[in-house]
Subunit: 256 residues, 2 copies
DNA sequence: CGGAAATTTGAGCAATTTCAACATGGGTGG
DNA sequence: CCACCCATGTTGAAATTGCTCAAATTTCCG
């Protein structure tokens, strides 16, 4: 199924330069990374499926990987789209049963470094910096998901889409004055928890927010805080319903 | 504003028994906890507000604390409701600027142990087990929020509410055959990202799922997998659109 | 140039929100 | 003990928003 991979130093360098390992010495990195291999995946090939045992930490060296879940009602919802330099299955390592609860599939074709988790866990033990950076990354992921919950609850699909486009542009380092979408629209819809039709209908509405989309070509016109305009317009004054923090009387806990 | 607190050993014990510190010796726990104090908060008193500098790790010793955010459009969305034994501001410690991005407010009155973050960070450095448990907890929080995103995208408000009630019942150790709601309905609505009216209208629909709510009294009739019935009914077969995982040809990365 | 996949569009429907009116229910002060 | 009040919750009706289904286009590839 999968293609044989010629060793490609560029791809290995991606793995060497991820921030998770940035405090390791070159030797430490090498001895960890040589435990893993870089694998090549064809378009739509699965890295793992829900219920599979968790064996690796994955580092995307090239291409894109979609991580998604089939929800109870048979829908496919994309948890995340991992791009070059992204590391995934960080969360799962700490979760209970050692089984994947998502599916991962290559979009187009992808090259992925797979690092056995037991080796990775060893390095977590050995190197405090790795553990610390992992925790940061988990915290950031949790905060991101929290914000997504809020967005889904309070924003219209057009607003969510606008934010996603800006964010995508920034995180891929694209030119805000004009770029082409790095993903298919159906993938974006799945990532944003909306239907393709909804996304399609949201696109024209983005003009009001200074985003023009034609086909897969996107350009931001109002380059600064245009995204905020919509939000601010929708904002209403509302009274603060709670007391401000007060001086607290501190009481030592007589431990021991 | 806040009441003076008589030292209460029960409350201190709550803090001593949280799982985050469960691998520490009694001495280690004591020397850490004596750095913090237990504070008393009146109903609706704030522990901190958005934008405040992050100073403490909080451990709820008694009562309830609502953690929430004012969204851009002026709505109030509850991130989490912390109950006795819960620890919060774990995530924030790892995030950038050292400022709170949520508000925390006592519901009714609450007793909260506040542990200076620099002291807590020291113990993270000193005790691997604390760091490990913190990471687990972050991972679990992230997974929970991910599931919430999915629920909001795929489930009806009645289903979401049903899940929340079951979960609440379990996590508070209440009797599923009949208990009263530990929170006000408006708080629940805010927690679930829906309007109070929507929640109110969803309540009668829960009967179909074997949950009876009258006033603030809840009882589960169909005690087993009743919650799944609705989901399964809504489920439809849909074809698998991707390839199963293939054998991969492994290629050693010639690191170094 | 086909044909399949991806996207767009239309029309009707379902769920949630909004706004407004109404009910309930503790608690307080007389 | 009761009348009253304010916070909380419920209900109705209209308006939004997103979803479903179906058909029409467009795009992508060989």
């Amino acid at each position: 199924m999968s293609q044989r991979l010629l060793i490609n130093m560029d791809q290995l360098d991606i793995a060497r330069n991820i921030s998770l390992f940035s405090d390791l010495t070159e030797n430490e990195k090498d001895s960890l990374l040589k435990e893993g291999g870089i694998y090549s995946y064809r378009s739509k090939e699965c890295l793992f499926m829900e219920g599979d045992p968790i064996k690796f930490l994955y580092i995307v060296c090239d291409g894109l990987v979609q991580e998604f879940r089939q929800t109870a009602d048979g829908r496919e919802l994309t948890v995340n789209i991992h791009k070059k330099g992204d590391v995934f299955c960080k969360t799962e390592i700490f979760l209970n049963e050692g089984l994947h609860n998502t599916n991962a599939m290559a979009i187009d074709s992808a090259y992925v470094m797979e690092l056995p988790i037991d080796k990775f866990k060893e390095s977590l033990q050995k190197h405090k910096s790795v553990a610390q950076r992992l925790a940061s990354s988990l915290a950031r992921f949790a905060a991101m998901k929290q914000i997504e919950v809020e967005q889904q609850a309070t924003m219209t699909s057009a607003q969510i889409l606008a934010l996603f486009l800006r964010q995508t542009c920034a995180s891929h380092g694209l030119d805000p004055r004009g770029f082409s979408l790095p993903y298919k629209k159906s993938l974006i819809a799945s990532r944003l928890g909306m239907k393709l039709e909804t996304l399609s209908r949201a696109l024209p509405k983005l003009k009001e927010q200074g985003i023009t989309v034609k086909g897969s070509h996107v350009s931001f016109t109002d380059l600064k805080a245009s995204g905020l305009a919509g939000l601010q317009a929708a904002a209403r004054g509302n009274a603060v319903k709670f007391f401000p923090p007060s001086r607290k009387i501190r009481e030592m806990a007589h431990a021991s």
